[in-house]
């Protein structure tokens, strides 16, 4: 899987992190590490462009959860327990979608997974970059 970073200056600076390829247990930690790096160099608004992500397993959900925590300035929990992602959902349900990390252009099957696991309650999911960037 490859990652590509772009910076866009809109109302606020937004970093676009594009993921291409397949995301599973063998490489999800690299995405978390990349996000940590971006946060540490000043990124406060992140857009995940997953138009090129052809496959995502439950490890991707763990990565998404960790990314939210990172961008909120919190430490990600132990990445082995996939359920921490669910626990986060339960805990944060009332807080609704957060403004730090958004998703654009998921492929259809990936979108289904995000919906099935309730991740669409925490991430705004857009189908085109323009609208996504305008929302920050």
């Amino acid at each position: 899987m490859e990652t590509e970073v772009e910076s866009i200056q809109g109302k606020v600076p937004v970093t676009i992190l594009a993921l291409r390829g397949e995301l599973d247990a063998s490489n999800f930690e690299a995405v978390i590490a990349k996000t940590k790096q971006l946060y540490e160099t000043g990124t406060r608004h992140l857009l995940l462009d997953i138009s090129g992500l052809t496959f995502m397993s439950s490890s991707g959900l763990v990565a998404l959860h960790s990314i939210i925590l990172l961008m909120r300035g919190e430490k990600p929990t132990d990445t082995e327990t996939g359920w921490s992602a669910f626990r986060a959902i339960e805990r944060d349900f009332d807080s609704g979608r957060q403004p730090y990390v958004k998703i654009v252009s998921p492929q259809p099957k990936v979108l289904t997974i995000l919906q099935k696991t309730g991740m669409d309650h925490f991430f705004e999911i857009f189908s085109d970059r323009q609208t996504a960037l305008a929302s920050y």
Binding site: D24, A25, S26, F55, S57, S58, S59, T81, F86, I113
Partner: protein, 142 residues
């Protein structure tokens, strides 16, 4: 099973991509629709990941993957030589459970169950586990 083909290998997490590549190739030969193909890739990825992380304690281990057709369904059989673990006994997710009570690899099994029509487990007489996954093809799925 008809049109079945299989392979065996000592696999690690880094081999998941190759295993999916193989399954995609077989799916193309069996002319399976893209949505069902993705479900196969997802279920197999989740279950093999589970076996590698928990069955083989994060080390590489023997995996056998068989894929074929039975009437209108796609059947995938996964075999390993890890200690007996019946994943059908893993409880369905209960969001009220505290974190330490969460089932092993529960999230992955949860997802796998979402995308298969049938999942059966059998412990192998020679040691190891076998999981059979059945995917109904798109025109019969809801």
């Amino acid at each position: 099973m008809e049109n079945s083909s299989s392979f065996q290998m000592i696999a690690g997490l880094e081999d998941l991509a190759e295993i999916r590549r193989y399954l995609r190739g077989r799916a193309a030969i069996l002319q399976i629709d893209p949505s069902t193909t993705y479900d196969v890739l997802l279920a197999v990825t989740e279950l093999v990941t589970n076996t590698l992380l928990y069955g083989y304690q994060e080390k590489s281990g023997f995996i056998e993957v068989e894929m074929g057709q039975e009437s209108d369904s796609i059947v995938v059989r996964l075999r390993d030589r890890a200690p007996t673990f019946d994943l059908t006994q893993a409880p369905l997710p209960d969001l009220s459970l505290p974190l330490d009570e969460r089932p092993i690899g529960g999230l992955g099994i949860f997802l796998a169950r979402q995308v298969v029509n049938q999942l059966t487990y059998r412990s192998l007489p020679q040691g190891g586990n076998e999981v059979t996954l059945v995917f109904d093809q798109i025109h019969t799925k809801n």
